[in-house]
C-alpha cells in the first residue's frame, strides 16, 4: 500500500502521521509527504490530510487550503472510493471541500484545548477504525481552537441514522461540538474525519498508545474497503 500525506503551508502533523504509518508496518518508501502543488493522487492507496493550521486558519480553518491544486486532487481521488482520512485541520478541510458534512466554529469556551481526552468508538465500520471495538473508550490527545463541530438538525439526524458518527467525546466535551462529535465518516466509511490525534498516541512516553489501532486499521481494513467500494 502506498500512502500520501498532504502538507500545506502551516500543516503540522505530517511527520507524526508518517512515523505512525511506519510503526504500523508501512515501508519507508511507501509513505510520501506531498505539498499543496500536488496534482495527481491516483497512484496512492490511502491519503491523509494532517492536523495543524494550514494558512494560519485564515478566512476559515481549511478554507485557504481548499483552493490549492492538492485539494482538487483530493476531491478527484475521493471520487474513486479509496481511503481518505482527515485529522484535525484535515477534518476541517474535508468539510470545506464538502467531502464530509458540517463545519467548525471556535471552541465554545473560546479556550484553545490541549490534552488527553476520553473518546468513545461509535463505529468500527470505517477504513480508520476497523480494528477498534464499538463502545470502547480510548484516551487521545487533542489540540485545537476551532474544534466545535457544527451541523444543522437534518444533517445530525442523518449522521446518527446512517451510523456515520465515528468518535464521540465520552467524559468531557472540550469544545461544545454538536452531539459530542469527535469524528465522522461518509456513508461508505471510506472518508473519515476526526479531531483527536491518534498519531500523537503511539508512544507510552506521551501518555497513551491508543493511537496504534487506528493506523493498524489502515493496513488491515483499508484494502477491504477499497475492494468493496471500487468504482
Amino acid at each position: 500500500m502506498k500512502a500520501a500525506i498532504i502538507s500545506f503551508p502551516g500543516t503540522i502533523g505530517e511527520q507524526d502521521i508518517q512515523e505512525a504509518l511506519l510503526s504500523a508496518g508501512f515501508e519507508a518508501g511507501d509513505v510520501e509527504i506531498l505539498d499543496e502543488r500536488q496534482t495527481e493522487l491516483s497512484t496512492y492507496d490511502v491519503v491523509f490530510l494532517p492536523g495543524g493550521a494550514s494558512y494560519g486558519d485564515s478566512i476559515r480553518p481549511g478554507a485557504a487550503a481548499k483552493v490549492d491544486a492538492a485539494a482538487e486532487a483530493v476531491v478527484q481521488y475521493a471520487a474513486t472510493g479509496k481511503p481518505l482520512i482527515g485529522i484535525g485541520n484535515g477534518f476541517q478541510l474535508l468539510t470545506e471541500l464538502g467531502l464530509l458534512p458540517g463545519g467548525f466554529l471556535k471552541n465554545k469556551t473560546l479556550k484553545t484545548v490541549n490534552g488527553l481526552y476520553e473518546v468513545k468508538v461509535e463505529s468500527s465500520r470505517t477504513v480508520f477504525t476497523n480494528q477498534l471495538e464499538e463502545g470502547q473508550t480510548l484516551r487521545l490527545p487533542i489540540a485545537h481552537k476551532y474544534g466545535q463541530y457544527t451541523a444543522d438538525e437534518e444533517t445530525l439526524s442523518r449522521l446518527k441514522e446512517n451510523k456515520q458518527i465515528v468518535l464521540t467525546y465520552s467524559s468531557e466535551n472540550p469544545n461544545g461540538s454538536a452531539a459530542d462529535i469527535a469524528g465522522i465518516a461518509n456513508e461508505a466509511g471510506t472518508i473519515v474525519g476526526i479531531m483527536p490525534k491518534p498519531e500523537r498516541a503511539m508512544n507510552a512516553l506521551f501518555g497513551s498508545v491508543d493511537g496504534k489501532l487506528f493506523f493498524q486499521s489502515i493496513n488491515s481494513g483499508a484494502v477491504e474497503y477499497t475492494e468493496r467500494n471500487k468504482k
Partner: protein
Amino acid sequence: MFKVTVFVQYLESVVNPDEEVLNEAIQKVGTEGVSPVKIGRTYTFHVQADRREEADQKVKEVAGKLLVNPSMETYSVEMEEV
C-alpha cells in the same frame, strides 16, 4: 469597474462563541441602549466587468468558492459602478 463589499455572517441557527464574550464586554462599556451585537466579516474589492450581471457572476464565484461556507454562513453584497 465595480466596487464590491461582501458582508458575511453566520446563519441564524449558528451560535458564534465570540458573540457572548463581545456582548458581555459591551455591557461593561456601559453605553445605554445598545442591542446585542452580531459579528460578521467584510471583504472589499474591485471587479473588472462591463455589465452588472457579469460583475455579479464574478462575485458569486469568489464568494461561493472561498469567502463563504454556505453550511454555516450567509452573505450579502453591495456593489457600485466606479
